[in-house]
């Protein structure tokens, strides 16, 4: 079983997020980068599948500038067998279809049985990469997996639906599955893993610019959400209070 895990490096949830001067992205110089947390679950799931199978290969693939080597090493330390870095300039791609195409062109070469990705990235949160890759490579595709069972040439996936519902689906391999966070407990690398990771291969691939671009989406401006506090003291008799609360919930906050 040959498994690819797509891993992205994103700003940590507690990181400072200053905007870049042109307000098209963030100023990365003071950002603390971490492995995209949903991808960490995907990686763990891949490692568990490999361990359960008793054989196979887990290849971690990431796209970005040289800083992303850190997350690839981290994944290798946890047990991935080798890494691939799709090289990118500091101005990272934000259009999902372009991202999907770039990954697909690299994945195509390797004939993976399974492509796992986190359901979305913590930075742009598009949630499309796994699905797009499945489509581009002609793989069966499922999203939001909360349980996986690999069988002979197929995979059974429990998908999370809304309102507490879930769905079991069986897909033929190869498949591209996006993984919901929390389905496992990601491991901490052992020292042997950390040491071993230094010797594992990270293949750097520089894609030629043509063919992969779609430019269906572009990032025009980013801004920090404005937060404001409003307080209203509702007074009057019970009926008036209830009426006002219902009014606020309906019209102002729009939750009912």
């Amino acid at each position: 079983m040959k498994i690819a895990v797509l891993v992205k490096q994103v700003p940590g949830s507690e990181s400072a997020l200053p905007l870049s001067p042109n307000e098209k992205w963030i100023d990365e110089s003071s950002v603390t980068f971490v492995m995209n947390p949903p991808d960490n679950f995907a990686l763990e799931e891949a490692l568990l599948i490999k361990e359960k199978n008793g054989e196979g290969e887990v290849v971690v693939i990431s796209m970005g500038p040289s800083r992303i080597q850190k997350v690839i090493r981290e994944a290798l330390a946890k047990g991935a067998d080798r890494g691939i870095q799709i090289e990118e300039s500091d101005d990272i791609e934000k259009d999902p279809l372009t991202v999907g195409k770039k990954f697909a062109s690299v994945l195509k070469e390797e004939n993976f049985d399974l492509v796992l990705s986190g359901l979305q990235s913590d930075d742009t949160g598009m949630g499309q990469t796994g699905v797009l890759i499945g489509e581009l490579l002609g793989m069966s595709t499922a999203t939001l997996a909360i349980k996986t069972e690999v069988k002979e040439n197929k995979i059974k996936v429990k998908r999370e639906l809304e309102s507490g519902w879930f769905q079991w689906v069986e897909l033929p391999l190869p498949a591209s599955i996006s993984i919901q966070s929390g389905l496992n407990i990601p491991r901490y690398p052992s020292l042997k893993g950390i040491m071993g990771a230094k010797k594992k291969e990270i293949k750097e691939i520089l894609l030629s610019a043509q063919n992969q671009l779609s430019n269906l989406q572009s990032m025009d401006k980013v801004s920090i959400p404005q937060t404001s506090k409003q307080t209203e003291v509702i007074e009057g008799d019970t009926e008036a209070i209830v009426a006002r609360i219902v009014d606020v919930l309906k019209k102002d906050i729009k939750v009912i």
Partner: protein
């Protein structure tokens, strides 16, 4: 006195028993040699004075339980005297008409001492046996849920009974023998006890007296020979193994500053200890030095609050495991059973707050805490088996450079509104002020950092802070067992230190203090580091600041483990508190200074929770409340957080409040 046949029997018995004892000791030391870090006999023997002093002074016994310690000293001193007594008695048996310095003042003093100490030993041992078997002193028991070897459960009682009975029979017979000798010859006022006893034999036939003399002689000396083969593996061997262990004790800069691991060395395959043979030989010796007094668990925060850890059980399990596998180990066979199956459970390993109480009070120099630190290294670095919360802490330290997981860009936010010079601007300062992660991110910690810089500014100290360039020292990582992460953090800080010029580091965090001062030295980074209690104490002493006394209510001081036991600083914080007391007094808690009871946060326990048993901070807070002091003075941000939580959860927060000593002084300077 002895007949020819008796002499032959004695000599043969002596040869056999000494031989058997010697062989067993040999096997024990061969078993010990399965450990790492071979005992360096040359260095150990160089410490002979240390061992002898500990043996004769019995000093290490008086740190806690002074009364029991004194009774033990009677037995120990008496027993030392008995080494001479036994030789003299053998000569008496073998050489007809032999008498040791008869009618001589020294001979009489000798006899007086023997007489008195025989009675003291008998009293002492009877008391010890009564304490264990009749009074059932709880301090000698090891309570659930601690894992204790099946063999130890019955073995300890048997061993105690056998050793106790042996001493009573040996010394008692010797005493009787002396009384029969007196009855047989003449009154001897240099032996008042035996003399009185001899009165009982008046009226006995001379033949019977001679026979009794033979019997008691054999009871005294024959018994000692019969005991010899059992002696090495009994806990009684502590009288030899104890001082030896003190002599062999590893010299550390502070008790948790264990030897560093060289990650560059490719030949190392095992990090930390998961099997007996991964422990250093001095640590294996600990098991044989242990007399099972369990002083170490008296104020072990984990044991007292009912968790799975008892440092005493750890050592007892070690001894029984060594004995059980003695043949294999002596043959150099490694036993492939994890320490967590027989020495201490995994949860026990995580329950340790590394407060150092066990190491501090052990009369024979055992270091159970070091075993725990090594076991943790294995669990973290080799097996990745440790509390999930600790894993998150590691990741936060790796990603953000602090265990809170907050942005490194926010580290210097606590300085807002304060005049705090930055190293990156100043490049050089007399004092590098190290706020530490808690001093930078925790809301109470920030107030304490502000108080420290207020004091420094008032004193006109030339200082600067690293601000956002500061990163966690790695203390928690090291104590939890992640040596690799610790060294990574240390390396990062070293690079920052190298950029600037400063004479010393001042910090209010005892964890940063000991790590920078002692643990970094293990990595070759020598720094002069001062705790804020010491620094402020000196500022007061040199009159750089003169805080106005303002405290009219009583204050009690909670000793931080890493300032007190780990670095022997008990006076500085107390001096600082004294400087602001007006009508109030400093009240000591039931356990203070070297016997202080931990707040529960040390050893990484700040970041994960062991749920078994009571909460450590609540237990400590009860002791603070008992002093009736209105203020608990702290000198550690972790202690501050833990005790504040303890006060709140026990409903004492309205009555008692917590202040850092820097805040107290700062208030005294503003008034």
């Amino acid at each position: 006195m002895l007949s020819f046949i008796e002499k032959i029997v004695f000599v043969l018995l002596a040869l056999g028993c000494f031989g058997a004892s010697f062989v067993t000791f040999g096997r024990m030391f061969r078993a010990i040699s399965i450990g790492t870090n071979p005992l360096n006999w040359k260095d150990i023997l160089k410490n002979w004075q240390v061992g002898l002093f500990a043996f004769f002074s019995q000093k290490t016994l008086f740190k806690t339980r002074p009364v029991v310690g004194l009774i033990h000293a009677f037995v120990a001193w008496g027993f030392t005297l008995y080494l001479i007594v036994n030789i003299v008695d053998v000569l008496y048996g073998f050489i007809p008409g032999f008498s040791f310095l008869p009618n001589n003042i020294f001979g009489n003093i000798y006899r007086l001492f023997v007489d008195v100490f025989s009675l003291l030993i008998l009293f002492g041992v009877v008391y010890f046996l009564a304490r264990r078997f009749i009074l059932k002193d709880q301090r000698l028991e090891i309570n659930k849920p601690v894992m204790l070897s099946e063999l130890a459960v019955s073995g300890m009682r048997f061993d105690s009974l056998l050793v106790g009975s042996f001493i009573i029979l040996h010394v008692g017979s010797r005493f009787l023998s002396a009384s029969f000798e007196i009855a047989h010859t003449q009154s001897d006022w240099s032996q008042p006890g035996a003399n009185m006893m001899s009165k009982l034999w008046i009226g006995l036939q001379p033949d019977s007296i001679v026979m009794m003399e033979h019997i008691t002689w054999w009871m005294a000396l024959g018994l000692i020979l019969l005991f010899l083969p059992y002696f090495p593996m009994s806990k009684h061997a502590h009288l030899f193994m104890g001082p030896l262990n003190i002599m062999a004790k590893e010299k550390r800069r502070s008790m948790a500053a264990i030897e560093k691991i060289d990650f560059e060395d490719d030949s190392i395959e095992q990090f930390g200890s998961s099997r007996l043979h991964h422990l250093p030989q001095t640590q294996l010796l600990d098991g044989y030095a242990c007399i099972q007094c369990s002083r170490c668990q008296d104020a072990c925060p984990a044991y007292v609050t009912g968790k799975e850890l008892s440092p005493s059980a750890l050592e007892i399990n070690k001894r029984y495991f060594l004995n059980e596998n003695l043949t294999d180990l002596a043959d150099g066979k490694e036993i492939d059973i994890p320490l967590t199956d027989w020495m201490l459970t995994e949860e026990a390993a995580w329950s340790c707050t590394t407060c150092g109480y066990c190491v501090e009070v052990c009369p024979v120099g055992n270091e159970p805490m070091v075993d725990i630190l090594r076991a943790r290294q294995d669990l973290v670095m080799m097996e990745s088996k440790f509390p999930k919360d600790a894993m998150e802490t590691f990741e936060k330290m790796e990603n953000y450079g602090n265990p809170w997981g907050l942005s490194p860009q926010d580290r210097e936010n606590w300085m807002e509104g304060r005049d705090v010079p930055l190293m990156r601007e100043k490049k050089e300062a007399e004092v590098l002020y190290w706020a530490g992660c808690s001093g930078a991110y925790d809301s109470r910690g920030r107030e304490i950092s502000q108080a420290v810089v207020d004091v420094m500014n008032k004193a006109g100290v030339d200082f600067a802070s690293l601000g956002n360039e500061e990163t966690c020292t790695g203390d928690s990582a090291r104590r939890i067992g992640n040596e690799y992460l610790f060294q990574t953090m240390a390396e990062q800080n070293k690079e920052t230190f190298d950029q600037y010029k400063f004479k010393k580091i001042v910090t209010q965090c005892p964890h940063c203090f000991t790590t920078l001062k002692n643990d970094y030295a293990e990595l070759g980074v020598e720094l002069e580091v001062v705790h804020h209690s010491q620094f402020i104490d000196e500022l007061i002493e040199t009159k750089k600041i003169e805080p106005k006394p303002w405290m009219d209510e009583d204050v009690t001081f909670h000793d931080p483990c890493y300032l007190g036991r780990h670095n022997n600083e008990y006076d500085a914080p107390r001096n600082v508190i004294q400087s602001i007391l007006r009508d109030g007094e400093l009240k000591e808690m039931e356990q203070s200074k070297s016997e202080s009871f931990c707040c529960g946060a040390g050893g990484g326990n700040m970041w994960y929770e062991v749920k078994t048993g009571d909460r450590i901070n609540q237990t400590r807070v009860k002791q603070a409340v008992e002093t009736k002091a209105k203020t608990v003075a702290a000198a550690c941000n972790f202690c501050n957080i833990m005790l504040e939580d303890g006060l709140k959860t026990t409903g004492n927060d309205e009555e008692v409040n917590i202040m850092d000593i820097a805040e107290m002084v700062s208030k005294g300077l503003n008034n």
